[in-house]
Amino acid sequence: MIRVHRATFAYRPGEPVLAGIDLEIPGGLTLLLGPNGCGKSTLLKLIAGIERPDSGLVEIDGHDLWTDEVAARRGLAYVPEQPDLTPYATVREILGLVCRLRGEPQSAAEEALEFVGLRDLAHRSVRELSMGQRRRSVLAAALIGTPRHVLLDEPLEAMDRGARDAILAWIDRLLAAGATVVAVSHDLAPFAPRAHRAATVRAGHCRLADPLPDDPAARLALLEHMARGEPFP
């Protein structure tokens, strides 16, 4: 369970992005929707432990992200939209770090590299990789271990058809295993059938639609409504 309690956040004083978010996310796929700049990615960063809320708290399975840092992040995997990787390391070194921190053998890194098709580039510095290759690198990191909480920010963006299918299949396996998956995506069609609930961020606040309509057309229509930031019943 991911729990966000009265979380507020501003990058600059006096310009709040999130103004008191209350959200509980159980297992299954939760879509985070809304227009550009509404705070979806920022909320995802709060849940991922990238940014610390100015007030309020974020808990992962009962562990506070900022007072119980290691335990809260142990089962967490975050795939950002912009793959920020240190330019001073190779892909293999970064995945080696992930293996070490998650208590996984180094062979898990090799398997992840194989899955994302980067085995031949693993020795390369991050500086030498294209944007698509960097995105695959952070995806590979998310594959290491058995993450129970997976946060995805535009996971299908700039991915070829084969990669998209592989990512969706991976998400299906996560959901089948009972994981919590939170995804930000402007591309709704692949996720609409899989989603259990959706949340929209608007004016710094969050609203949850749970459950979603069973009818596929009604479900997609509601999700598109939420993605445009329009009020919904």
Binding site: K45, I50, Y78, D84, T86, Y88, A89, E93, V138
Partner: protein, 207 residues
């Protein structure tokens, strides 16, 4: 070599040497002062304390500034299962290890002075590691904070050597304070000051 140390060394490169040069300036001055004058033992010790402590402060100032600029915060890494205290401790250890040659040279002036400087080194290293985290928000970067705080401590240590154990005892507080600064960072915010694309994980145009 651990990943964290490897990344820091790659980011620092030749700045490791320049930090030693910076540290040798006050230390060299103290050495020449002692060598070219006939001094009572307590004055030799005072010169060793001041030169040695200032040497470590100058070196840490240079390294902290370089780290803050060339190795900015790595946002995605904060989602991994490691703590802010761990990341800060790694930086502090790196800094402290690089102070070792300066401590050995201080011992050539006065052994007791070198031991006193060694005793305050953990405090200085942790404060410098904390300054790295605050660097993007300050016009003076990390070096200003390290020079000011460290300079005051060096002067105090030279006059009152008995404060060295106090600094060592306060090291856990310095560690907690630096870790809190690490947590407080708004890492995905763009800050123009002291920002080089060369080490920025969020830069698309890294060299």
């Amino acid at each position: 070599m651990r990943f964290e140390a490897r990344i820091a060394w790659r980011a620092l490169r030749w700045r490791l040497l320049s930090s030693w040069v910076a540290g040798l300036l006050p230390l060299g001055a103290a050495f020449l002062f002692v060598r070219n004058n006939e001094l009572a033992p307590q004055h030799v010790r005072l010169a060793g304390l001041l030169g040695g402590a200032c040497g470590v402060v100058f070196a840490f100032s240079d390294l902290a500034e370089a780290l803050g600029v060339r190795r900015p915060a790595w946002p995605w890494a904060r989602s991994l299962p490691w703590s802010a205290a761990h990341r800060v401790r790694t930086d502090a250890l790196l800094l402290a290890v690089h102070a070792a040659p300066l401590l050995l040279l201080t011992a050539q002036i006065d052994l007791v002075a070198a031991l006193a400087v060694l005793t305050v080194t953990p405090w200085l290293a942790l404060r410098a590691a904390g300054a790295v985290r605050r660097a993007p928000e300050r016009r003076s970067g990390a070096s200003g904070e390290v020079l000011l705080e460290g300079g005051l401590l060096a002067a105090a240590l030279a006059l009152l050597p008995w404060i060295a154990p106090l600094a060592l005892a306060a090291t856990p507080w310095a560690w907690r304070a630096a870790a809190e600064r690490e947590r407080e960072q708004k890492v995905s915010r763009w800050l123009e000051l002291h920002h080089l694309a060369v080490g920025d994980p969020q830069s698309w145009s890294s060299e």
